[in-house]
């Protein structure tokens, strides 16, 4: 078993990196994969709280790197889903406490044990981002269909290429089909046109995300959530399955082209 290491990043803050990391981790584990999620947002940790594991933290990633504890001691086993673990970030340090080399070392110790290692990147383009992508085999970039988010995503695409971790794949989050139909929101086609990278998922804006974060139960754990279904679809695409994109926006021809495009490249 040799893990695929996937870093989820964005540039812009608040677009859904942590939500995506949490939900993809659960979705992959729920389908029988052995998964560890790592929160690389040192100083502003949130993966723990989104996953509902905040009360189980004893040790964190910085403890591991500094040798204060063994790697296993920092790994929190999720009791709800088999074979899902979390390594939380430190809350009282900052991104300078960790180097890209540290991250690579920690991840290398985990590679033989897991199918997937998901790394939640902090926002920005500085040390935290560099730490998060250093061990990556694949990079997912999350954006929302808004000007500033797409602009930042574009910058990140360039940086990912520069670090030789490309090509990155795109998740469009918080899409509002009603607004797209009215012409008041960038469509999936608009965003792909501008960014020109492969799309791996479209997640609709969904109240159930807020409810699920309130409860610490990632939305893929429930049925009946459109966002949950979207995250499940992304997890399946990550595993190499061909999953057609849901046509939220009444743009059938583009969506069909996307699915074929993805099949060829995925």
């Amino acid at each position: 078993m040799s893990a695929t290491v996937i870093t989820i990043t964005s540039g812009k803050g608040g677009v859904g990196k942590t939500t995506t990391t949490a939900n993809l981790s659960v979705a992959l584990a729920a389908q029988g994969k052995k998964v560890v999620a790592i929160d690389a947002d040192i100083g502003l940790r949130n993966l723990d709280v989104v996953m509902g594991l905040e009360n189980r933290i004893v040790y964190d990633l910085v403890n591991v790197i500094e040798g204060t504890c063994r790697l296993r001691q920092a790994m929190i086993k999720d009791k709800r889903v088999d074979e899902l673990y979390l390594i939380p970030a430190a809350q009282s340090r900052d991104k300078t406490a960790v180097t890209p080399e540290d991250m690579v070392q920690v991840v290398n110790q985990l590679r033989s044990e897991f199918d997937f290692i998901l790394i939640d990147s902090p926002a920005g383009i500085e040390q935290g981002f560099k730490n998060a992508i250093a061990p990556a085999d694949r990079v997912l970039i999350v954006t929302t269909p808004e000007v500033s988010a797409v602009r930042d995503a574009d910058r990140i695409i360039g940086l990912v290429e520069a670090e030789e971790k490309g090509p990155a794949e795109l998740v469009i989050n918080r899409l509002r089909a009603d607004m797209v139909k009215r012409g008041d929101m960038l469509s999936t086609e608009d965003v792909i046109d501008v960014l020109a990278i492969n799309l791996i998922g479209i997640v609709p804006d969904d109240e159930t995300i807020i409810i699920s974060t309130n409860q610490g139960r990632p939305v893929v754990m429930e049925n009946g959530s459109l966002a949950g279904q979207a995250f499940r679809n992304i997890s399946r695409r990550l595993m190499g399955q061909e999953v057609p994109f849901v046509n939220f926006e009444d743009n059938t021809s583009f969506i069909k082209r996307l699915t074929k495009f993805f099949k060829v490249s995925g």
């Binding site: 808004e146 000007v147 797409v150 602009r151 574009d154 910058r155 695409i157 360039g158 607004m179 797209v180 009215r182 012409g183 008041d184 929101m185 960038l186 469509s187 608009d190 046109d193 501008v194 020109a196 990278i197």
Partner: protein, 87 residues
């Protein structure tokens, strides 16, 4: 058509389209790290250099920064009206 749209208080372009156009423009500049202001300076310097060799019609100069699939391209067109006087 635009007049009637404005008369009835409808914006000419839907905001989604405006967003896309603005994004395309801003990204073109972001990607080569050349602001619109810097492009003006570039244009002036190019005019200076080219004018040393040939006479150009300054009104007809077109300089554009475009993008295709993450590849950027700077193109410049200078209408040449003749030889530089006193060459």
């Amino acid at each position: 058509m635009g007049f009637f749209n404005r008369l009835f208080g409808r914006s000419e372009s839907k905001s989604g389209k405006v967003a896309k156009n603005r994004l395309q423009l801003v990204l073109v500049h972001d990607r080569v790290n050349l602001s619109p202001g810097e492009m003006e300076l570039l244009k002036d310097e190019l005019i200076q250099v080219i004018s040393k060799y040939v006479e150009i019609d300054q009104q007809g100069i077109e300089i554009a920064l475009t993008n295709n699939n993450r590849t950027s391209r700077l193109t410049a067109h200078f209408p040449v009206t003749g030889a530089r006087p006193n060459k």
